[in-house]
């Protein structure tokens, strides 16, 4: 296991290096940020001075060498927009996104497992049809629409919740509602399909013939064996949320890294864009590693090898 983790970490580090290089080059292909930080009538001399000051006049490979040298010293450069260390800015925003992602996934997994499993257990029933239709609707609705309709209905019309911002529990309801809808729809469908397959398998028939109750058959035997595809999909969905819920954070003024990423891209804040990608990339690598480890815990037949 230790060897597996070590190898996967090494592979993860390699992917991160590739990712950072790619983002470094792609961001710079969009041009110099000088024009966004100087007034419209700024002279060409001032634009040149800005580029010189920030190193944007150097050839790409020299800028890259400088950046890589910085990373080795754990210096990710300074944010043009916030005048602070880029990594500091990103890490300052990460907890807000992580909290949102954690509660989103908690709700998504709970709802999807309960709805998907009970739907599979009573195939063809009214409950099954209702779950299928509801989950299909949930996964088809665009999140910006849900966000704006949620604000219009719950905050403006009913006056029950705040429109946006951060604060007590009431500020969490609309962002969580918006964020959970689509992943819940997707995961419910995956759980249902995986459960149907598991419930049709021999070991479930054996368990039933041995007199195990229907509840125990569904939740103890079948669910555990249906968990692998569910875990895989949950991992992908979680990665999307950790990546920063761009739309939700922007609409609700949630100061997470999704919001930061949008601001940084609009402001050509290269150092912050790179730091966001690196931090979220690292989080996804770690999460994938945890999921791989979880596979072997869920099904001991899966042997982890480097």
């Amino acid at each position: 296991m230790a060897r597996f983790i070590l190898t996967r970490s090494r592979q993860g580090a390699l992917s991160l290096i590739g990712l950072v290089l790619l983002v470094f080059v792609l961001a710079r292909l969009t041009g110099s940020p000088a024009l966004l930080y100087l007034p419209e009538d700024a002279s060409p001399e001032r634009v040149a001075a800005f580029n010189r000051e920030n190193g944007f006049d150097q050839p790409l490979y020299l800028q890259l060498l400088d950046y890589v040298g910085g990373i080795l010293r754990l210096d990710f450069g300074d944010s043009l927009l916030y005048g602070d260390s880029a990594l500091g800015v990103v890490l300052g925003r990460f907890p807000a996104t992580l909290q949102l992602a954690f509660f989103t996934m908690l709700i998504v997994v709970t709802l999807a497992v309960v709805a998907g499993a009970s739907s599979a257990a009573r195939r063809g029933s009214v409950r099954d049809t209702a779950t299928r239709v509801t989950s299909m609707t949930a996964l088809s609705v665009p999140d910006f629409w849900v966000a704006l309709m949620g604000i219009a209905f719950f905050a403006v019309y009913l006056d029950l919740l705040p429109t946006s911002g951060i604060g007590g529990w009431e500020f969490w309801v609309l962002p969580l509602l918006t964020l959970t809808l689509r992943p819940t729809g997707i995961l419910t469908q995956v759980v249902r399909t995986a459960m149907i397959e598991a419930l049709d398998s021999d070991y479930v028939r054996v368990a039933r013939s041995k007199g195990v109750g229907p509840h125990a058959v569904v939740y103890k035997h079948a669910l555990r064996n249906a968990a692998i595809p569910v875990l895989t999909m949950a991992g992908i969905l979680a990665a999307q949320v950790v990546n920063g819920a761009l739309v939700v954070e922007t609409v609700f003024g949630w100061p997470g890294i999704g919001n930061l990423m949008v601001t940084a891209i609009r402001g050509r804040d290269f150092a912050v864009i790179q730091a966001v990608v690196l931090v979220t990339g690292a989080a996804i690598v770690v999460m994938n590693l945890l999921i791989d480890v979880a596979y072997s815990r869920l099904n001991p037949q899966i042997r982890l090898s480097a």
Partner: protein, 522 residues
Amino acid sequence: MTSRAMARTRTTRRPSAYILTASITAALLGLAGCAGSTAADESGDGRTLRVAVAYEPLSMDLCDSSSARNGMFMVENVGEPLVDLDFKTMELKPRLAESWKAVDPVTWQFTLRDGVTFHNGQPLTAQAVADWINRVLNPDLECWLYGSVLDDNVQKAEAVDARTVTIKTSSPDTILPRRLAFVMIGFVGSDAKQKTQTPIGTGPYQFVEYNPSADVQISRFEKYWGKPANFDKVVYPIRVESSVRSAMAAAGEVDIASMIASQDAKAHGAVNFTVGETIYFRIDTKLPPFDDLRVRRALSLAIDRKTFVQNVYGGLGEPANAIVIPQTVGYPDHVTTEYDLAGAKALLAEARADGVKTDTPFKVVGWAGMRSSNGSEVPDTIVAMLKAAGFNASTQLLENEAMRTRLGSANDPTFGPAVVLNAHGNSLGDALVSLQGKLGCKAPQSSVCDNRLDALLKKAAQASGEERAQLLSDAFSYEHDELVALVPVAYMADTIIRSDRASYEPNLASSERIDLSEVTVK
């Protein structure tokens, strides 16, 4: 699965996993508690005002206060200028300076008000003002004020005595006091060489905190020299979506929601107002077919400005005759932009008969982020009008940086002939900067370099009063009749939404700044 494995799945319990999950949940709930502590405070006590803004600030430094992104909280509230500009009369009034005069053609002298202190308790002295202006003029600091309001014609500021400061220019600048109405005076502390995160001004409100992507907060400065601030605290929530700002006003979460898009312009409490910005387009005058004056005249005649305002802005805004608003010094009263489709077609036919390729395809370039643009609606409407006159036009929509590059490369054959749409705001209230910036020989955006126009502008720069206004007006007439490099389309409108308890009358500048002394709450 083997029966052994099955047995394991049935019986295995992993208490450690539960403990781990519980610890993570507890930790995250703890973090959530921390996030809760930075909650926006409750309004409704009458002493806290909340104003929803559309932009993340450019920086917290008062030397960037002329950027529209910073103006809302900085201008007149945290920072104050030496000289105030009244946006109703466009006249200058004393603020931090009690009086000012030109001591020679290249030197202006300002006498400061007594008894003014910065938010850090330091007195406002001539030396402090000179230090601040010299800091703004430092090109390494990349201040927004330097380039948008002050330029390299301003040499330096010097303290003559405790209350007198002089500002020297390399050539006469008769509107320097007007420019200084946009320079908020800040305190130069240890951050002389870099931008500060904590602005210190002399205004009625002092900076409290900036929570990136969340809000900016300011509070009453108790030792303010003038009329005390109306509110204990003012919070500016940052929400980039117009519909969310509008919803915040509807739900009573804010007292003022700024920069509301036209689809919400009829909401309860909405007030529409004309802003000091003009939509216009620039023509590549040196590239065929636009190198023929008749073709350029036809472009202008083909624009039905009334229909444009009706269709694109839902009737808000007004057709424009010049790229500056009528309140501006030098506005040409006698110039009118007409809509004459038959005339446009006739001019094109005449040019075509002389061998001009009037069917050359060209782009109408628009900016995706232009305020109230609703995507490509602005360039699409212009394209439709040009096509009706017989032009072979199509829309090209660019984002910020590409648009700025495009604006700075007039007559560049690699982009082909084009009509580039832009919005121009002249808050100074004097047309010289507009004419120089858009038509001057050295201006990066200019598509012309005309000796007669340049001579008029040089003369106007040295003149003042009626003479200056006349020279600038002549320059506009000449451009309209003989050059046709810029085609004004419409004065833009903006909307704010006020809550039922708030009262505020927007003015020309309210898209970029709201002077809190003009806001009252029931």
